[in-house]
Symmetry: C2
Subunit: 312 residues, 2 copies
Protein backbone atom coordinates (compact mmCIF):
# COMPACT_ATOMS: atom_id res chain seq x y z
CA UNK A 1 0.00 0.00 0.00
CA UNK A 2 1.86 3.09 -1.23
CA UNK A 3 1.58 5.91 1.29
CA UNK A 4 2.66 9.54 1.04
CA UNK A 5 3.08 11.47 4.28
CA UNK A 6 3.32 15.25 4.53
CA UNK A 7 5.49 16.07 7.50
CA UNK A 8 7.03 18.76 9.62
CA UNK A 9 9.74 17.71 12.03
CA UNK A 10 9.38 16.51 15.58
CA UNK A 11 5.58 16.31 15.59
CA UNK A 12 5.50 14.13 12.51
CA UNK A 13 8.44 11.90 13.35
CA UNK A 14 6.65 9.65 15.83
CA UNK A 15 3.93 8.76 13.36
CA UNK A 16 6.49 8.33 10.58
CA UNK A 17 8.41 5.91 12.75
CA UNK A 18 5.18 3.98 13.31
CA UNK A 19 4.39 3.94 9.59
CA UNK A 20 7.92 2.74 8.80
CA UNK A 21 7.36 -0.21 11.15
CA UNK A 22 4.09 -1.34 9.60
CA UNK A 23 4.84 -0.65 5.92
CA UNK A 24 7.62 -1.90 3.66
CA UNK A 25 10.11 0.98 3.42
CA UNK A 26 9.66 1.28 -0.34
CA UNK A 27 5.93 1.91 0.16
CA UNK A 28 6.49 5.09 2.15
CA UNK A 29 7.29 8.52 0.69
CA UNK A 30 7.61 11.52 3.01
CA UNK A 31 7.36 15.08 1.74
CA UNK A 32 8.99 17.32 4.30
CA UNK A 33 8.67 20.99 5.16
CA UNK A 34 11.75 23.03 4.34
CA UNK A 35 10.26 26.40 5.31
CA UNK A 36 12.19 26.10 8.60
CA UNK A 37 15.54 25.88 6.83
CA UNK A 38 18.17 28.37 7.85
CA UNK A 39 21.67 29.42 7.07
CA UNK A 40 23.82 29.65 10.18
CA UNK A 41 27.61 29.90 10.42
CA UNK A 42 27.58 29.72 6.62
CA UNK A 43 25.99 26.27 6.78
CA UNK A 44 22.71 25.24 5.16
CA UNK A 45 20.56 23.65 7.84
CA UNK A 46 17.31 21.78 7.15
CA UNK A 47 15.96 20.93 10.61
CA UNK A 48 12.80 19.09 9.51
CA UNK A 49 14.52 17.02 6.83
CA UNK A 50 17.18 16.10 9.37
CA UNK A 51 14.87 15.09 12.19
CA UNK A 52 12.79 12.95 9.83
CA UNK A 53 15.96 11.33 8.46
CA UNK A 54 17.54 10.80 11.87
CA UNK A 55 14.29 9.33 13.20
CA UNK A 56 13.92 6.86 10.34
CA UNK A 57 17.64 6.03 10.63
CA UNK A 58 17.13 5.20 14.29
CA UNK A 59 19.74 7.72 15.42
CA UNK A 60 17.54 10.58 16.64
CA UNK A 61 17.88 11.75 20.19
CA UNK A 62 14.68 10.57 21.88
CA UNK A 63 15.17 12.86 24.87
CA UNK A 64 15.24 16.16 22.99
CA UNK A 65 13.27 15.29 19.86
CA UNK A 66 15.96 16.90 17.70
CA UNK A 67 19.56 16.09 16.91
CA UNK A 68 21.51 12.87 17.10
CA UNK A 69 21.56 10.48 20.03
CA UNK A 70 24.54 10.92 22.37
CA UNK A 71 25.84 13.85 20.36
CA UNK A 72 28.42 16.21 21.87
CA UNK A 73 28.67 19.99 21.59
CA UNK A 74 32.37 20.82 21.46
CA UNK A 75 32.30 22.70 18.16
CA UNK A 76 29.29 24.78 19.24
CA UNK A 77 31.06 25.82 22.42
CA UNK A 78 34.03 26.99 20.35
CA UNK A 79 31.83 28.75 17.82
CA UNK A 80 30.58 30.66 20.84
CA UNK A 81 34.16 31.66 21.70
CA UNK A 82 34.31 33.27 18.26
CA UNK A 83 31.23 35.28 19.11
CA UNK A 84 28.97 33.28 16.81
CA UNK A 85 25.33 32.79 17.83
CA UNK A 86 25.05 29.58 19.81
CA UNK A 87 21.27 29.57 20.38
CA UNK A 88 20.69 26.97 17.67
CA UNK A 89 22.04 23.82 19.25
CA UNK A 90 24.24 22.02 16.76
CA UNK A 91 25.89 18.84 17.95
CA UNK A 92 29.24 17.74 16.58
CA UNK A 93 27.76 14.77 14.69
CA UNK A 94 24.81 16.85 13.52
CA UNK A 95 27.28 19.47 12.29
CA UNK A 96 28.76 16.86 9.95
CA UNK A 97 25.33 16.64 8.28
CA UNK A 98 25.19 20.40 7.75
CA UNK A 99 28.78 20.55 6.51
CA UNK A 100 28.10 17.70 4.09
CA UNK A 101 24.83 19.21 2.84
CA UNK A 102 26.39 22.66 2.41
CA UNK A 103 29.35 21.26 0.49
CA UNK A 104 26.99 19.33 -1.81
CA UNK A 105 24.76 22.35 -2.40
CA UNK A 106 27.76 24.54 -3.17
CA UNK A 107 29.03 22.00 -5.66
CA UNK A 108 25.69 22.13 -7.47
CA UNK A 109 23.56 19.38 -5.91
CA UNK A 110 19.90 20.09 -5.27
CA UNK A 111 18.34 19.98 -1.79
CA UNK A 112 16.76 16.66 -2.85
CA UNK A 113 20.07 15.17 -3.95
CA UNK A 114 21.85 16.33 -0.81
CA UNK A 115 19.06 14.88 1.33
CA UNK A 116 19.27 11.58 -0.51
CA UNK A 117 23.01 11.41 0.08
CA UNK A 118 22.38 11.88 3.81
CA UNK A 119 19.58 9.35 4.17
CA UNK A 120 21.41 6.81 1.98
CA UNK A 121 24.44 7.04 4.27
CA UNK A 122 22.28 5.65 7.07
CA UNK A 123 20.61 3.02 4.91
CA UNK A 124 17.21 4.73 5.10
CA UNK A 125 15.05 3.17 2.40
CA UNK A 126 12.01 5.38 2.96
CA UNK A 127 11.88 8.05 0.27
CA UNK A 128 12.33 11.45 1.92
CA UNK A 129 11.60 14.44 -0.33
CA UNK A 130 12.00 18.11 0.50
CA UNK A 131 8.80 19.95 -0.45
CA UNK A 132 10.87 22.01 -2.89
CA UNK A 133 14.43 22.35 -4.12
CA UNK A 134 13.97 26.12 -4.13
CA UNK A 135 14.26 28.13 -0.92
CA UNK A 136 10.99 28.89 0.86
CA UNK A 137 11.35 30.68 4.18
CA UNK A 138 8.64 30.78 6.81
CA UNK A 139 8.63 34.31 8.22
CA UNK A 140 6.51 35.35 11.16
CA UNK A 141 5.14 38.82 11.62
CA UNK A 142 5.26 39.24 15.37
CA UNK A 143 5.05 41.74 18.18
CA UNK A 144 8.85 41.95 17.85
CA UNK A 145 8.91 42.41 14.10
CA UNK A 146 9.48 40.00 11.24
CA UNK A 147 11.28 36.88 12.46
CA UNK A 148 12.57 33.85 10.56
CA UNK A 149 10.99 30.72 11.94
CA UNK A 150 13.95 29.36 13.94
CA UNK A 151 14.59 32.85 15.32
CA UNK A 152 11.07 32.82 16.63
CA UNK A 153 10.92 29.22 17.84
CA UNK A 154 14.41 28.54 19.16
CA UNK A 155 16.08 31.88 19.75
CA UNK A 156 12.98 33.67 21.08
CA UNK A 157 11.40 30.47 22.48
CA UNK A 158 8.09 31.14 20.72
CA UNK A 159 7.47 34.07 23.07
CA UNK A 160 6.66 36.87 20.58
CA UNK A 161 2.99 37.19 19.66
CA UNK A 162 2.39 36.01 16.10
CA UNK A 163 0.41 38.41 13.95
CA UNK A 164 0.84 36.81 10.56
CA UNK A 165 2.76 34.20 8.59
CA UNK A 166 4.49 34.55 5.23
CA UNK A 167 6.21 31.94 3.12
CA UNK A 168 8.90 33.95 1.37
CA UNK A 169 9.83 32.51 -1.99
CA UNK A 170 6.89 30.10 -2.14
CA UNK A 171 5.47 31.78 -5.21
CA UNK A 172 8.62 30.99 -7.20
CA UNK A 173 9.13 27.50 -5.78
CA UNK A 174 8.40 24.23 -7.55
CA UNK A 175 7.55 20.95 -5.85
CA UNK A 176 10.71 18.85 -5.77
CA UNK A 177 10.95 15.91 -8.18
CA UNK A 178 8.56 13.13 -7.14
CA UNK A 179 6.32 15.17 -4.84
CA UNK A 180 3.39 15.63 -7.21
CA UNK A 181 3.83 12.22 -8.85
CA UNK A 182 3.87 10.39 -5.53
CA UNK A 183 0.70 12.16 -4.38
CA UNK A 184 -0.96 11.23 -7.66
CA UNK A 185 -0.05 7.55 -7.49
CA UNK A 186 -0.31 6.88 -3.74
CA UNK A 187 -2.95 4.60 -2.28
CA UNK A 188 -3.33 7.09 0.52
CA UNK A 189 -1.93 10.37 1.74
CA UNK A 190 -1.37 11.20 5.41
CA UNK A 191 -1.09 14.71 6.80
CA UNK A 192 1.02 14.11 9.89
CA UNK A 193 0.10 15.66 13.26
CA UNK A 194 2.36 18.67 12.63
CA UNK A 195 1.65 22.35 13.13
CA UNK A 196 -0.93 23.17 10.42
CA UNK A 197 0.30 26.75 10.10
CA UNK A 198 4.06 26.50 9.99
CA UNK A 199 4.84 22.84 9.28
CA UNK A 200 2.12 21.77 6.85
CA UNK A 201 1.36 25.35 5.76
CA UNK A 202 4.65 25.88 3.89
CA UNK A 203 4.21 22.59 2.00
CA UNK A 204 0.74 23.64 0.93
CA UNK A 205 2.12 27.01 -0.18
CA UNK A 206 4.33 25.43 -2.85
CA UNK A 207 2.34 25.87 -6.07
CA UNK A 208 0.78 22.63 -7.23
CA UNK A 209 0.87 20.62 -4.03
CA UNK A 210 -2.48 21.71 -2.60
CA UNK A 211 -4.11 21.16 -6.00
CA UNK A 212 -2.60 17.67 -6.24
CA UNK A 213 -4.02 16.85 -2.81
CA UNK A 214 -7.47 18.19 -3.73
CA UNK A 215 -7.55 15.80 -6.67
CA UNK A 216 -7.09 12.95 -4.17
CA UNK A 217 -9.33 14.38 -1.43
CA UNK A 218 -11.12 11.16 -0.47
CA UNK A 219 -7.75 9.41 0.04
CA UNK A 220 -6.22 12.25 2.05
CA UNK A 221 -6.27 11.66 5.81
CA UNK A 222 -5.24 14.27 8.36
CA UNK A 223 -4.19 13.26 11.85
CA UNK A 224 -5.14 15.93 14.34
CA UNK A 225 -2.18 17.74 15.91
CA UNK A 226 -4.46 19.29 18.54
CA UNK A 227 -5.84 17.14 21.34
CA UNK A 228 -8.13 18.57 23.99
CA UNK A 229 -7.32 22.07 22.75
CA UNK A 230 -3.57 21.63 23.19
CA UNK A 231 -0.90 20.96 20.59
CA UNK A 232 0.83 17.60 20.84
CA UNK A 233 4.15 19.35 20.27
CA UNK A 234 5.24 22.95 19.85
CA UNK A 235 3.32 26.20 19.81
CA UNK A 236 0.47 25.35 17.41
CA UNK A 237 -2.22 26.03 19.98
CA UNK A 238 -0.89 29.41 21.01
CA UNK A 239 -0.22 30.41 17.42
CA UNK A 240 -3.75 29.53 16.32
CA UNK A 241 -5.18 31.64 19.12
CA UNK A 242 -2.88 34.59 18.44
CA UNK A 243 -4.15 34.52 14.86
CA UNK A 244 -7.74 34.63 16.07
CA UNK A 245 -8.58 30.95 15.69
CA UNK A 246 -9.63 28.49 18.35
CA UNK A 247 -6.99 25.91 19.31
CA UNK A 248 -9.11 22.92 18.40
CA UNK A 249 -9.04 19.88 16.13
CA UNK A 250 -12.09 21.41 14.46
CA UNK A 251 -10.06 24.46 13.44
CA UNK A 252 -7.42 22.21 11.88
CA UNK A 253 -10.10 20.24 10.06
CA UNK A 254 -11.43 23.54 8.72
CA UNK A 255 -7.98 24.54 7.46
CA UNK A 256 -7.67 21.20 5.61
CA UNK A 257 -11.26 20.69 4.45
CA UNK A 258 -10.66 21.52 0.81
CA UNK A 259 -8.10 18.72 0.31
CA UNK A 260 -8.58 16.23 3.16
CA UNK A 261 -11.60 13.93 3.08
CA UNK A 262 -10.67 12.05 6.24
CA UNK A 263 -9.82 13.20 9.73
CA UNK A 264 -8.36 11.08 12.51
CA UNK A 265 -9.58 12.61 15.75
CA UNK A 266 -8.36 11.84 19.22
CA UNK A 267 -10.77 9.92 21.44
CA UNK A 268 -10.69 12.82 23.89
CA UNK A 269 -12.20 15.06 21.24
CA UNK A 270 -15.05 12.74 20.24
CA UNK A 271 -17.58 15.50 20.80
CA UNK A 272 -16.11 17.33 17.79
CA UNK A 273 -16.96 14.46 15.43
CA UNK A 274 -20.32 15.84 14.21
CA UNK A 275 -18.88 19.29 13.52
CA UNK A 276 -16.00 17.84 11.52
CA UNK A 277 -18.34 15.52 9.62
CA UNK A 278 -20.35 18.62 8.79
CA UNK A 279 -17.25 19.79 6.84
CA UNK A 280 -17.82 16.81 4.53
CA UNK A 281 -15.01 14.83 6.15
CA UNK A 282 -15.15 11.23 7.29
CA UNK A 283 -13.97 10.98 10.88
CA UNK A 284 -12.36 8.10 12.76
CA UNK A 285 -11.42 8.13 16.42
CA UNK A 286 -8.14 6.87 17.82
CA UNK A 287 -5.65 7.45 20.57
CA UNK A 288 -3.36 9.92 18.80
CA UNK A 289 -0.98 10.72 21.66
CA UNK A 290 2.06 8.51 21.11
CA UNK A 291 4.04 7.79 24.24
CA UNK A 292 5.60 4.43 23.36
CA UNK A 293 6.82 2.75 20.19
CA UNK A 294 3.76 0.56 20.49
CA UNK A 295 1.50 3.66 20.43
CA UNK A 296 3.25 4.74 17.22
CA UNK A 297 2.65 1.39 15.53
CA UNK A 298 -0.97 1.27 16.67
CA UNK A 299 -1.69 4.77 15.38
CA UNK A 300 0.05 3.93 12.09
CA UNK A 301 -2.19 0.85 11.80
CA UNK A 302 -5.27 3.01 12.47
CA UNK A 303 -4.14 5.39 9.73
CA UNK A 304 -3.67 2.58 7.23
CA UNK A 305 -6.94 0.95 8.14
CA UNK A 306 -8.87 4.25 7.81
CA UNK A 307 -7.17 4.86 4.44
CA UNK A 308 -7.91 1.28 3.43
CA UNK A 309 -11.60 2.06 3.76
CA UNK A 310 -11.14 4.79 1.18
CA UNK A 311 -10.07 2.22 -1.38
CA UNK A 312 -13.10 -0.05 -1.03
CA UNK B 1 62.78 45.48 20.08
CA UNK B 2 60.33 45.04 17.19
CA UNK B 3 60.76 41.62 15.62
CA UNK B 4 59.17 40.15 12.51
CA UNK B 5 59.19 36.38 12.14
CA UNK B 6 58.51 34.50 8.92
CA UNK B 7 56.91 31.22 9.78
CA UNK B 8 55.49 27.96 8.52
CA UNK B 9 53.49 25.89 10.96
CA UNK B 10 54.73 23.28 13.38
CA UNK B 11 58.44 23.87 12.77
CA UNK B 12 58.15 27.56 13.50
CA UNK B 13 55.78 27.36 16.43
CA UNK B 14 58.28 26.34 19.06
CA UNK B 15 60.53 29.29 18.34
CA UNK B 16 57.54 31.63 18.14
CA UNK B 17 56.43 30.46 21.56
CA UNK B 18 59.93 31.20 22.85
CA UNK B 19 59.94 34.66 21.25
CA UNK B 20 56.51 35.41 22.72
CA UNK B 21 57.90 34.63 26.18
CA UNK B 22 60.92 36.92 25.93
CA UNK B 23 59.35 39.83 23.99
CA UNK B 24 56.36 42.05 24.78
CA UNK B 25 53.54 40.69 22.59
CA UNK B 26 53.17 43.99 20.76
CA UNK B 27 56.81 43.76 19.64
CA UNK B 28 56.25 40.54 17.69
CA UNK B 29 54.74 40.29 14.21
CA UNK B 30 54.52 36.89 12.51
CA UNK B 31 54.04 36.56 8.76
CA UNK B 32 52.70 33.08 8.11
CA UNK B 33 52.72 30.80 5.08
CA UNK B 34 49.29 30.26 3.55
CA UNK B 35 50.51 28.14 0.62
CA UNK B 36 49.35 25.06 2.57
CA UNK B 37 45.77 26.32 2.74
CA UNK B 38 43.11 24.01 1.44
CA UNK B 39 39.38 23.79 0.91
CA UNK B 40 37.91 20.62 2.36
CA UNK B 41 34.25 19.83 3.00
CA UNK B 42 33.54 23.30 1.65
CA UNK B 43 35.56 24.83 4.47
CA UNK B 44 38.55 27.15 4.09
CA UNK B 45 41.38 25.71 6.16
CA UNK B 46 44.64 27.56 6.90
CA UNK B 47 46.77 25.00 8.75
CA UNK B 48 49.84 27.16 9.34
CA UNK B 49 47.88 30.22 10.48
CA UNK B 50 45.94 27.99 12.85
CA UNK B 51 48.88 26.20 14.41
CA UNK B 52 50.69 29.50 14.97
CA UNK B 53 47.55 31.00 16.52
CA UNK B 54 46.78 27.96 18.67
CA UNK B 55 50.40 27.84 19.85
CA UNK B 56 50.49 31.49 20.85
CA UNK B 57 47.05 31.10 22.47
CA UNK B 58 48.40 28.24 24.56
CA UNK B 59 45.77 25.82 23.28
CA UNK B 60 47.78 23.79 20.76
CA UNK B 61 48.02 20.06 21.18
CA UNK B 62 51.62 19.49 22.27
CA UNK B 63 51.46 15.76 21.50
CA UNK B 64 50.59 16.04 17.81
CA UNK B 65 51.98 19.46 16.96
CA UNK B 66 48.71 20.36 15.21
CA UNK B 67 45.16 20.92 16.33
CA UNK B 68 43.73 21.88 19.68
CA UNK B 69 44.57 20.29 22.98
CA UNK B 70 42.10 17.60 24.09
CA UNK B 71 40.05 18.00 20.96
CA UNK B 72 37.55 15.30 19.96
CA UNK B 73 36.77 13.92 16.51
CA UNK B 74 33.04 13.19 16.48
CA UNK B 75 32.20 15.33 13.46
CA UNK B 76 35.07 13.89 11.42
CA UNK B 77 33.87 10.36 12.11
CA UNK B 78 30.41 11.34 10.85
CA UNK B 79 31.81 13.14 7.83
CA UNK B 80 33.39 9.77 7.05
CA UNK B 81 29.95 8.12 7.22
CA UNK B 82 28.90 10.50 4.45
CA UNK B 83 31.80 9.27 2.35
CA UNK B 84 33.77 12.46 2.77
CA UNK B 85 37.58 12.26 2.90
CA UNK B 86 38.69 11.87 6.51
CA UNK B 87 42.45 11.87 5.98
CA UNK B 88 42.79 15.48 7.11
CA UNK B 89 42.21 15.24 10.83
CA UNK B 90 39.82 17.94 11.89
CA UNK B 91 38.88 18.01 15.55
CA UNK B 92 35.49 19.28 16.66
CA UNK B 93 36.93 22.42 18.27
CA UNK B 94 39.29 22.98 15.35
CA UNK B 95 36.30 22.63 13.02
CA UNK B 96 34.73 25.64 14.72
CA UNK B 97 37.74 27.68 13.56
CA UNK B 98 37.29 26.57 9.96
CA UNK B 99 33.54 27.16 10.06
CA UNK B 100 34.07 30.63 11.51
CA UNK B 101 36.81 31.52 9.01
CA UNK B 102 34.76 30.23 6.07
CA UNK B 103 31.67 32.16 7.16
CA UNK B 104 33.74 35.35 7.50
CA UNK B 105 35.40 34.89 4.10
CA UNK B 106 32.05 34.24 2.45
CA UNK B 107 30.64 37.39 3.98
CA UNK B 108 33.49 39.41 2.48
CA UNK B 109 36.22 39.45 5.13
CA UNK B 110 39.82 39.06 4.01
CA UNK B 111 42.05 36.19 5.18
CA UNK B 112 43.80 38.76 7.41
CA UNK B 113 40.56 39.95 8.97
CA UNK B 114 39.33 36.40 9.55
CA UNK B 115 42.65 35.48 11.12
CA UNK B 116 42.49 38.50 13.39
CA UNK B 117 39.00 37.55 14.53
CA UNK B 118 40.31 34.09 15.47
CA UNK B 119 43.42 35.21 17.31
CA UNK B 120 41.53 38.02 19.07
CA UNK B 121 39.02 35.46 20.40
CA UNK B 122 41.87 33.84 22.33
CA UNK B 123 43.38 37.11 23.47
CA UNK B 124 46.51 36.66 21.35
CA UNK B 125 48.26 40.04 21.24
CA UNK B 126 51.04 38.98 18.86
CA UNK B 127 50.26 40.27 15.38
CA UNK B 128 49.74 37.29 13.07
CA UNK B 129 49.60 38.12 9.36
CA UNK B 130 48.92 35.77 6.49
CA UNK B 131 51.59 36.24 3.82
CA UNK B 132 48.81 37.29 1.43
CA UNK B 133 45.07 37.79 1.34
CA UNK B 134 45.02 36.23 -2.13
CA UNK B 135 45.15 32.48 -2.60
CA UNK B 136 48.57 30.98 -3.23
CA UNK B 137 48.68 27.19 -3.44
CA UNK B 138 51.82 25.16 -3.03
CA UNK B 139 51.67 22.39 -5.64
CA UNK B 140 54.18 19.60 -5.80
CA UNK B 141 55.16 17.87 -9.03
CA UNK B 142 55.73 14.32 -7.87
CA UNK B 143 56.19 10.76 -9.06
CA UNK B 144 52.41 10.46 -8.62
CA UNK B 145 51.52 13.63 -10.51
CA UNK B 146 50.72 17.14 -9.36
CA UNK B 147 49.62 17.16 -5.71
CA UNK B 148 48.39 19.96 -3.51
CA UNK B 149 50.60 20.28 -0.47
CA UNK B 150 48.31 18.68 2.13
CA UNK B 151 47.50 15.87 -0.32
CA UNK B 152 51.20 15.16 -0.48
CA UNK B 153 52.03 15.64 3.19
CA UNK B 154 49.01 14.27 5.02
CA UNK B 155 47.07 12.10 2.60
CA UNK B 156 50.13 10.55 0.91
CA UNK B 157 52.35 10.86 4.02
CA UNK B 158 55.13 12.60 2.06
CA UNK B 159 55.83 9.33 0.23
CA UNK B 160 55.74 10.48 -3.43
CA UNK B 161 59.08 11.64 -4.80
CA UNK B 162 59.08 15.43 -5.26
CA UNK B 163 60.28 16.58 -8.68
CA UNK B 164 59.36 20.23 -8.50
CA UNK B 165 57.45 22.87 -6.57
CA UNK B 166 55.04 25.49 -7.86
CA UNK B 167 53.27 28.29 -6.03
CA UNK B 168 50.06 28.64 -7.98
CA UNK B 169 48.66 32.14 -7.83
CA UNK B 170 51.79 33.68 -6.32
CA UNK B 171 52.34 35.91 -9.34
CA UNK B 172 48.98 37.61 -8.78
CA UNK B 173 49.21 37.75 -4.99
CA UNK B 174 49.98 40.82 -2.92
CA UNK B 175 51.57 40.83 0.52
CA UNK B 176 48.79 41.23 3.07
CA UNK B 177 48.45 44.62 4.80
CA UNK B 178 51.32 45.17 7.21
CA UNK B 179 53.70 42.54 5.85
CA UNK B 180 56.01 44.86 3.91
CA UNK B 181 55.67 47.72 6.40
CA UNK B 182 56.55 45.50 9.38
CA UNK B 183 59.63 44.14 7.61
CA UNK B 184 60.70 47.69 6.81
CA UNK B 185 60.34 48.99 10.35
CA UNK B 186 61.44 45.95 12.38
CA UNK B 187 64.58 45.97 14.48
CA UNK B 188 65.21 42.45 13.27
CA UNK B 189 63.67 39.77 11.11
CA UNK B 190 63.77 36.05 11.93
CA UNK B 191 63.32 33.29 9.40
CA UNK B 192 61.97 30.51 11.59
CA UNK B 193 63.33 26.95 11.36
CA UNK B 194 60.64 25.95 8.86
CA UNK B 195 60.96 24.01 5.62
CA UNK B 196 62.79 26.43 3.29
CA UNK B 197 61.09 25.04 0.20
CA UNK B 198 57.44 24.73 1.15
CA UNK B 199 57.02 26.84 4.31
CA UNK B 200 59.30 29.83 3.73
CA UNK B 201 59.37 29.36 -0.06
CA UNK B 202 55.72 30.40 -0.60
CA UNK B 203 56.18 33.53 1.52
CA UNK B 204 59.22 34.50 -0.56
CA UNK B 205 57.21 33.87 -3.74
CA UNK B 206 54.74 36.65 -2.94
CA UNK B 207 55.94 39.61 -5.02
CA UNK B 208 57.65 42.24 -2.90
CA UNK B 209 58.48 40.20 0.20
CA UNK B 210 61.88 38.89 -0.88
CA UNK B 211 62.80 42.38 -2.06
CA UNK B 212 61.76 43.89 1.28
CA UNK B 213 63.94 41.35 3.08
CA UNK B 214 66.91 42.06 0.81
CA UNK B 215 66.71 45.71 1.78
CA UNK B 216 67.15 44.63 5.42
CA UNK B 217 69.69 41.85 4.76
CA UNK B 218 72.03 42.61 7.67
CA UNK B 219 69.09 42.46 10.11
CA UNK B 220 67.64 39.25 8.69
CA UNK B 221 68.52 36.14 10.70
CA UNK B 222 67.70 32.62 9.57
CA UNK B 223 67.51 29.79 12.08
CA UNK B 224 68.60 26.55 10.49
CA UNK B 225 65.81 23.99 10.09
CA UNK B 226 68.35 21.27 9.29
CA UNK B 227 70.54 19.86 12.05
CA UNK B 228 73.11 17.17 11.36
CA UNK B 229 71.64 16.67 7.91
CA UNK B 230 68.14 15.97 9.22
CA UNK B 231 65.12 18.25 9.32
CA UNK B 232 63.93 19.23 12.78
CA UNK B 233 60.36 18.55 11.67
CA UNK B 234 58.76 17.26 8.49
CA UNK B 235 60.19 16.15 5.19
CA UNK B 236 62.57 19.06 4.41
CA UNK B 237 65.62 16.79 4.30
CA UNK B 238 64.09 14.27 1.93
CA UNK B 239 62.60 16.95 -0.26
CA UNK B 240 65.92 18.80 -0.61
CA UNK B 241 67.61 15.56 -1.67
CA UNK B 242 64.85 14.62 -4.12
CA UNK B 243 65.36 18.00 -5.74
CA UNK B 244 69.11 17.35 -6.10
CA UNK B 245 70.28 19.37 -3.11
CA UNK B 246 72.17 18.18 -0.07
CA UNK B 247 70.15 18.09 3.17
CA UNK B 248 72.38 20.46 5.05
CA UNK B 249 72.25 23.76 6.89
CA UNK B 250 74.66 25.00 4.23
CA UNK B 251 72.09 24.36 1.51
CA UNK B 252 69.52 26.37 3.45
CA UNK B 253 72.00 29.20 3.93
CA UNK B 254 72.60 29.16 0.19
CA UNK B 255 68.87 29.42 -0.51
CA UNK B 256 68.62 32.44 1.80
CA UNK B 257 71.94 34.17 1.07
CA UNK B 258 70.51 36.99 -0.99
CA UNK B 259 68.29 38.29 1.81
CA UNK B 260 69.64 36.86 5.08
CA UNK B 261 72.85 38.32 6.49
CA UNK B 262 72.82 36.17 9.64
CA UNK B 263 72.55 32.46 10.17
CA UNK B 264 71.97 30.67 13.46
CA UNK B 265 73.60 27.27 13.13
CA UNK B 266 73.23 24.34 15.46
CA UNK B 267 76.27 23.48 17.58
CA UNK B 268 76.30 20.03 15.97
CA UNK B 269 76.95 21.64 12.60
CA UNK B 270 79.80 23.91 13.70
CA UNK B 271 82.02 22.56 10.93
CA UNK B 272 79.75 24.29 8.40
CA UNK B 273 80.45 27.73 9.86
CA UNK B 274 83.30 28.67 7.48
CA UNK B 275 81.32 27.62 4.38
CA UNK B 276 78.31 29.66 5.47
CA UNK B 277 80.49 32.66 6.33
CA UNK B 278 81.88 32.34 2.81
CA UNK B 279 78.35 33.19 1.62
CA UNK B 280 78.81 36.59 3.26
CA UNK B 281 76.65 35.62 6.25
CA UNK B 282 77.48 36.16 9.89
CA UNK B 283 77.12 32.89 11.78
CA UNK B 284 76.28 32.22 15.41
CA UNK B 285 76.12 28.82 17.04
CA UNK B 286 73.38 27.67 19.39
CA UNK B 287 71.47 24.65 20.49
CA UNK B 288 68.55 24.89 18.03
CA UNK B 289 66.73 21.66 18.90
CA UNK B 290 63.93 22.70 21.27
CA UNK B 291 62.71 19.95 23.55
CA UNK B 292 61.47 21.96 26.52
CA UNK B 293 59.86 25.36 27.02
CA UNK B 294 63.18 26.41 28.48
CA UNK B 295 64.96 25.45 25.25
CA UNK B 296 62.48 27.65 23.35
CA UNK B 297 63.13 30.65 25.55
CA UNK B 298 66.90 30.16 25.41
CA UNK B 299 66.89 29.90 21.61
CA UNK B 300 64.66 32.99 21.39
CA UNK B 301 67.17 34.85 23.57
CA UNK B 302 70.01 33.73 21.29
CA UNK B 303 68.06 35.03 18.31
CA UNK B 304 67.47 38.41 19.93
CA UNK B 305 71.02 38.72 21.10
CA UNK B 306 72.39 37.85 17.63
CA UNK B 307 70.00 40.37 16.08
CA UNK B 308 70.94 42.91 18.76
CA UNK B 309 74.49 42.77 17.44
CA UNK B 310 73.18 43.85 14.04
CA UNK B 311 71.95 47.11 15.56
CA UNK B 312 75.23 48.16 17.11
Amino acid sequence: MAIVALAGGVGASKLLLGLSKVLPAEDLTVTVNTGDDLELHGLSISPDLDIVTYTLAGIANPATGWGIREDTFAALEWLGKYGRPAWFHLGDRDLATHIHRTALLRSGSSVSEAGHSISAAFGVKVRILPMSDQPVRTMLRTSEGLLAFQEYLVHRRAEPVVEGIEFAGAGQALPSPGVIESIGSADGIVICPSNPLISIGPILAVPGIREALRARRSEVLAVSPIVGGKSLKGPSDRMLEQLGMKASALTVAGLYRDFAGRFLLDLQDHELQPSIEALDMKVALAQTVMRSDDDKRVLAQSVLSFLGQARK
